[in-house]
């Protein structure tokens, strides 16, 4: 593979200083994530996984070490340069969706493109296509409060894809959803991955992590496990399996 890895972490540390106390949130971490991978980052709270997510998401810079995103070293970039990398390379999906309540679903999806200089018509066309791809073509004109949790997360995933990023970075994407809806979202992420999209999911939920092809485990700021999953859980299949029961209940 000649293309650079989507993420290359080389001896990265992140140190927070509060007064006299130094907190090593990450301590000499190194790994790479190849294009097209589905990686879960796991660890209990305080393990440094949130810090790592902020770094991979180009929201923050490492204190030490090198961090390459899609081949670009972001360790010494300005905040505006980081913003540009985020816009082009990373699609965020959050636990609490982070939709703007006063924009329709399609406008929420199109919102990131307003910072690209693309014409309004083109942005809307692309957003509409992505909403259709996540199965929400009939909800394009709805506002977030009119949508269910699963629908909101689908809108958020469409938004994450709108700028055609190298990687979708999902922070506890099923954390605010019931099991079934969570599986639907995981199935959607898996199908995106099957089409070649790099997916990184940050979670503390072992079952969620089992849907990925690889699990990176963190504890106390260090990488303590790098496990390849030979047979990841197939969310779509598990949904089919429980469908009759669900339908009967409804």
């Amino acid at each position: 593979m000649s293309a650079p890895p989507v993420v290359a972490v080389e001896g990265v540390s992140k140190i927070y200083s509060t007064g006299d106390v130094e907190v090593r949130a990450l301590d000499g971490v190194g790994f790479t994530i190849e294009r097209g991978a589905f990686v879960a980052i796991m660890g209990p709270s305080g393990s440094g996984k949130s810090t790592l997510m902020n770094l991979i998401g180009c929201l923050d810079r490492p204190s030490h070490g090198r961090l390459l995103i899609d081949g670009t070293d972001i360790s010494a970039l300005s905040s505006d340069a980081l913003a540009t990398i985020r816009r082009r390379t990373i699609g965020f999906v959050f636990q609490t969706f982070h939709l703007l309540p006063r924009l329709t679903a399609v406008d929420n999806v199109a919102m990131p493109l307003s910072y690209t200089g693309a014409p309004v018509g083109e942005r809307r066309k692309r957003a509409t296509a992505l909403l259709a791809a996540v199965g929400l073509d009939d909800r394009a004109r709805h506002f977030p409060p009119q949508l269910s949790g699963g629908q909101k997360q689908r809108v958020a995933i469409a938004r994450a894809l709108v700028a055609d990023p190298a990687m979708v970075l999902a922070d506890e994407p099923t954390g605010a959803l019931d099991t079934r809806t969570g599986r639907e979202i995981l199935a959607l992420l898996q199908s995106l991955n099957a089409k070649g999209r790099t997916i990184v999911v940050v979670t503390h939920d072992e079952e969620v992590a089992r849907h990925a092809g690889r699990i990176l485990r963190f504890r106390d700021g260090r990488l303590v496990g790098d496990e390849t999953i030979e047979a990841p859980l197939d969310a779509a299949e598990r949904l089919r399996g429980e469908n009759p029961r669900k339908e009967a209940a409804e």
Partner: protein, 409 residues
């Protein structure tokens, strides 16, 4: 993001909290209203003075008979009817600073030319009146010396009268009938337009003083040297008050007793108008202070509400940063909102200010002055206030840390 899109986005954000936005604009509205009204009143007064001076002539004093007071009953001004041409002669002799002293009489007549007729005002004057009132002949000539002395049957028409009686044809040399007496038209005055009270000053004609008294205005037949008014024009503004004083003492000497009320009225017209307009100028200055305070308070109000808005929308800011908005994109978003608040307030203020100006103009009879420059200045001012007071909140928003902002509850 295009400017139009940024504006539309800002308006949507303001509309989402429309009551709050409207209340925030109030300071701007009051401030800009006051600015527009200040200017309209200030300049209106200025223009009013200029117009009065242009109407009456500059450095002009006017004398007319006092009100009669017979057995305790006070008649209207001018009723004593005692001002005479001899008074004018005396003033002409005694006032060194006077350029001209012009006695006039006036009345209403029916003017007839062929089958056209027109009811109008006729003034019996000397050529001095044209000098006193800075009023020139547009066509034809003024009275000859002989016509003045003998009350020649010649008439000079105001523009309106000429139009009514002659239409497009040349009136010079034509003969019209005034009270059945034929008069030759020798001149037409330059048009003067309306007074500030909307009177048509060109709806008038002039004949020699004696022609009016003897042939046209009946009430002078018993007292042929009586006049209705004497207009005095001083040589310059510097000597005007001196001339006024001298005129008073000269007239006092001629009418020493006062048992029948005032013998005469003497007015420095410019002074009267200036006194009236100085009150307007004070009001205008007061409004200026109100405007300044209201604009500053309005600006601070905008800053306050923008700070609240930034805090409320911290998560939105975090999200926008996460999806790739640069700091300047965030700053622009909030700056445009602040400017839109200020501009909307300013626009309402301009409309209200124009309404106030119209009311003031109709109450005072001053000309309505709503200059486009002032509207442009008010608009520019509003935008500047929006930028000035919006800068800090917008910068605060732009400086937020995206990680903190995303986590903000």
């Amino acid at each position: 993001m295009s400017a139009i899109e940024a504006v539309r986005m800002a308006l949507a954000a303001l509309g989402a909290n429309w009551l709050r936005s409207a209340l925030t604009m109030l300071g701007m509205v009051i401030g800009v209203t006051a600015v527009i009204a200040t200017f309209a009143i200030g300049v209106g007064a200025q223009v009013a003075i200029g117009k009065v001076i242009a109407n009456l002539g500059s450095n002009v004093l006017m004398v007319w008979p006092g009100n009669a007071n017979i057995g305790g009953t006070r008649g209207p001004s001018g009723a004593s009817g005692r001002l005479s041409e001899r008074d004018a002669d005396a003033l002409r002799r005694e006032l060194d600073g006077a350029l001209v002293v012009a006695p006039t009489v006036s009345g209403n007549v029916q003017a007839v030319n062929g089958n056209l007729n027109w009811q109008t005002r006729v003034n019996g004057v000397t050529n001095d009146l044209f000098i006193a009132r800075d009023w020139e002949i547009a066509d034809g000539r003024i009275f000859s010396e002989q016509e003045e002395r003998r009350g020649g049957k010649v008439v000079i028409l105001g523009e309106t009268v000429a139009d009514q009686l002659f239409g497009d044809t040349d009136p010079i040399g034509a003969v019209i009938r005034l009270q059945r007496v034929p008069f030759e038209v020798v001149g037409v005055m330059r048009p003067k337009g309306q007074t500030m009270f909307g009177q048509d000053q060109d709806d008038v004609m002039f004949v020699p003083l004696d022609a009016a008294r003897l042939r046209l205005v009946g009430r002078f037949r018993s007292r042929p040297d009586q006049v209705d008014m004497i207009t005095i024009k001083a040589r310059s503004a510097e000597v005007l008050s001196q001339v006024e004083e001298e005129a008073r003492s000269a007239l006092d000497r001629r009418y020493p007793q006062a048992e029948t009320g005032e013998a005469y009225n003497l007015r420095n017209m410019t002074q009267i108008v200036e006194a009236q307009t100085s009150a307007a100028r004070t009001l205008s200055r007061l409004l200026g202070v109100v405007a300044t305070i209201a604009l500053v308070v309005g600006g601070i109000g905008i800053m306050n509400i923008m700070l609240v808005s930034v805090t409320e929308r911290t998560r939105e800011i975090g999200l926008r940063m996460a999806v790739g908005a640069r700091r300047r994109d965030i700053r622009r978003q909030f700056l445009v909102e602040a400017v839109m608040l200020a501009l909307l307030g300013g626009t309402i203020g301009i409309i209200l200010g124009a309404a106030v100006s119209i009311v003031v103009a109709s109450l005072t009879g001053w000309p309505l002055v709503i200059a486009p420059e002032v509207i442009a200045i008010a608009f520019g001012f509003s935008a500047t206030i929006g930028v000035f007071f919006g800068w800090y909140p917008a910068t605060k928003a732009a400086r937020l840390d995206p990680i903190e902002a995303l986590r903000y509850e």
